[in-house]
Symmetry: C2
Subunit: 426 residues, 2 copies
């Protein structure tokens, strides 16, 4: 396997420091690249992915072999797998990012002072972004494209199982940079499967401005614990959906079933259903029936266990992320009881209220502080693409800097530009 893992024998700290240094140098140049140059680079990258699709599929086949040898689950293998359609999705994703407005240099705010000073707050790149992810090769393209658009250099550390697929995709992105005369090292893939590289990346405060981990709780928890640079992440998506007393019955049924079952493995999938006491026997019954009919295991509190097919919930079912066809469900006395439950058990990711009552919706929006709050909409919309950001590098639940789906705009910082006429301070 020597040809596949060319750098396995390297000195990892030296390897990573070299990558970091090159990323920082590239970032300094990319920071003032013209918007047209970045767009051209992304378009050329998209063309390269299209043109090299057979090569990408061949590399992916090798990754799939490796994954099967490693005993990856079917779900993991499905995430790893690329086909014509998924490659088309990657190409479209890069083009969507290319077509967006360039965030760098945008004037966020400007004002004049009585003394004649003109003050502007303008967006600047963050610098160097480290992305640590698991099996999905499309993260390579999404993260690379978003970082380029936002003028940041990126160091990509994909899962060992997507090593070859990601390698060819990064080649395509770098070809795009070359085509636009931008520094190739703005996008680098860590060329080793050695896990020591991850630890090294997490501690490179000199070179890395922020780390974005994409993957399961194990990976994200490790990164949050060990990183010595800021982290944009969510540990879990324990999304709640609350059926208010003033919910519309048909809407509740459709939205809850969609929020739970459309895709159970994503962080925006609903994991807990709260039902207002007044509508348990009407809307609640119908929704729970529909969930069970759809194949969902409903783990209910004592009251809901009266409904046929509901299994008992244990204390550890509250605040649990199943990522499966299971939902926890309980009755609440009123909206404040629902809010209290979410505050206690939620993960600040996404919660939805189903109600026709504006005051109830306003209270839910005001008194909860999750990254995303919804009304009469499925939690499955918690996604940068669905928000219109073209793509996302991840979803953040922290309160510092980035929050919710992280697109190009939130990969920026800002600076103040102050213009006077020889203005001195008295």
């Amino acid at each position: 396997m020597n040809d596949l893992t060319p750098d396995e024998t390297q000195d990892i700290p030296a390897l990573m420091a070299g990558i970091g240094r090159r990323a920082k140098d590239a970032a300094a140049e990319l920071a003032f690249a013209a918007p047209q140059a970045k767009r051209r680079a992304l378009e050329a990258a998209a063309e390269a992915v299209e043109a090299r699709a057979p090569e990408i599929l061949e590399a992916n086949a090798r990754d799939m072999d490796f994954g099967r040898d490693k005993g990856l689950s079917d779900a993991m293998l499905d995430r790893l797998k690329l086909d014509e359609t998924r490659i088309k999705g990657i190409v479209e994703g890069i083009r969507a990012v290319a077509a967006q407005d360039d965030p760098v240099g945008a004037v966020i705010a400007e004002w004049d002072r009585p003394n004649g000073l003109h003050i502007q707050r303008v967006r600047t790149p963050l610098g160097v972004v480290g992305v640590i992810y698991e099996s999905r090769p499309n993260v390579t393209a999404d993260a690379g494209a978003l970082c380029l658009k936002s003028g940041n250099a990126v160091i990509l550390r994909g899962g060992s199982e997507s090593f070859h697929s990601s390698g060819v995709l990064v080649d395509c992105l770098r070809a795009g940079l070359r085509a636009a005369d931008l520094p190739e090292d703005a996008i680098q893939l860590v060329p080793t499967r050695d896990r020591a590289a991850v630890r090294e990346l997490l501690g490179m405060t000199e070179f890395v401005d922020v780390i974005v981990p994409r993957g399961g709780k194990g990976l994200v928890g490790l990164v949050q614990k060990e990183a010595r640079v800021p982290v944009f992440a969510h540990l879990e998506g324990i999304c709640h959906i609350y059926i208010d007393a003033a919910a519309d019955a048909q809407m509740a049924l459709e939205v809850v079933v969609n929020a739970k079952t459309r895709r159970t493995g994503i962080c925006g999938a609903a994991e807990c259903l709260l039902i207002h006491r007044d509508v348990v026997d009407t809307i609640g019954q119908g929704v729970i029936r529909a969930l069970i009919d759809a194949g969902v295991e409903v783990r209910g509190d004592a009251e809901l266990q009266k409904i046929a097919g509901v299994v008992p919930a244990g204390e550890d079912d509250w605040g649990r992320e199943y990522l499966d066809m299971i939902i926890a469900a309980r009755v609440v006395d009123d909206i404040d009881d629902a809010i209290a439950h979410i505050r206690h058990y939620g993960s600040s990711h996404t919660e939805s209220i189903l109600t026709e009552d504006d005051a109830a919706a306003a209270r839910f929006f005001q008194r909860l502080d999750s990254a995303i709050l919804m009304r009469n909409a499925s939690t499955q919309f918690a996604d940068g693409g669905e928000f219109g950001m073209g793509a996302e590098i991840g979803i953040a639940t922290g309160k510092m800097h980035a929050r919710g789906p992280v697109g190009a705009e939130q990969l920026t910082s800002f600076k103040y530009l102050v213009t006077g006429q020889g203005t001195t301070r008295p």
Copy 2:
């Protein structure tokens, strides 16, 4: 001195955990307080400071005695000292913050999606802010007022020398909260001079969302090194001022002298002068003459040493924060040489270019990434009040979240509010 230090015998971890818990509870309530209530609290606080001025002066006199016993420098004693004028300044500062727009709940952006979803990004408070500062008692009022305005609870840890002055000021702020029926514990002063309280505060990740250190390099460096929560700070203000080839002679003279001499002890004071080679013998001569005449020690490179009165600069004069009547000065070959010098030696705080050439100014603004970049203006304007923010809790040079002068707006985060009509994701 028992009456002055009532909690000196306490169990510090338990004391601080109690303060943290109460701050977090108060923050949860303050997060959705009505803008009018917060304004009323600030107005009542300003009135209380006015009414209790004699008591504040008396407390300050005790602090001054303590400071003199402790052997504080005259500069430190001057920062500590309150008089009628300074108290009036504090009252005006609180009223200025009260009069500002409330940042919480403000819609930063909103848009519609083709599927009918309406998305809003609205400002929310950060939560709990910890402020660690040295002698200046007015920080107590500024920080307290800004945190209240932005819906954050604050834990104030003032210097031991301002213990009594800060104590009465916090009493006034808490009286304001009571008057507006807001939770008093939204503003708390650490009631001990024990330094162990600082370390405790820096590690309270469960209760504290961000730490703002205000003070010298020693304090800020300690906080940056030890804090386990995010920090908004600047370690040093190594501000550069660059006289371009296309500078206006009279303007250069006035702005440079102001930038260096107006007040030498603030972080926005210029510490290094860069002069374009083409104007050394014209504008440069005049500016350096004026600096020397104003009493400034000019430490120049070999070329500038030809000017009478210039003393030789050593290698350690570049990138040095004097906070005194001293300035480092050197000749640069062109604007890129100036930019390279600033990138190498700067502290990302504030730099100013003096030029009539729009292209040169644009290059300076684009290729440097300090928190504040100025053109034809004195670096001494690097200040939240001068920016029109009413007050500032500090100046940040990091790129995460807050940057430049930190006012109420940057003490906020945001959340997304998404409204559908029973919208499900296909």
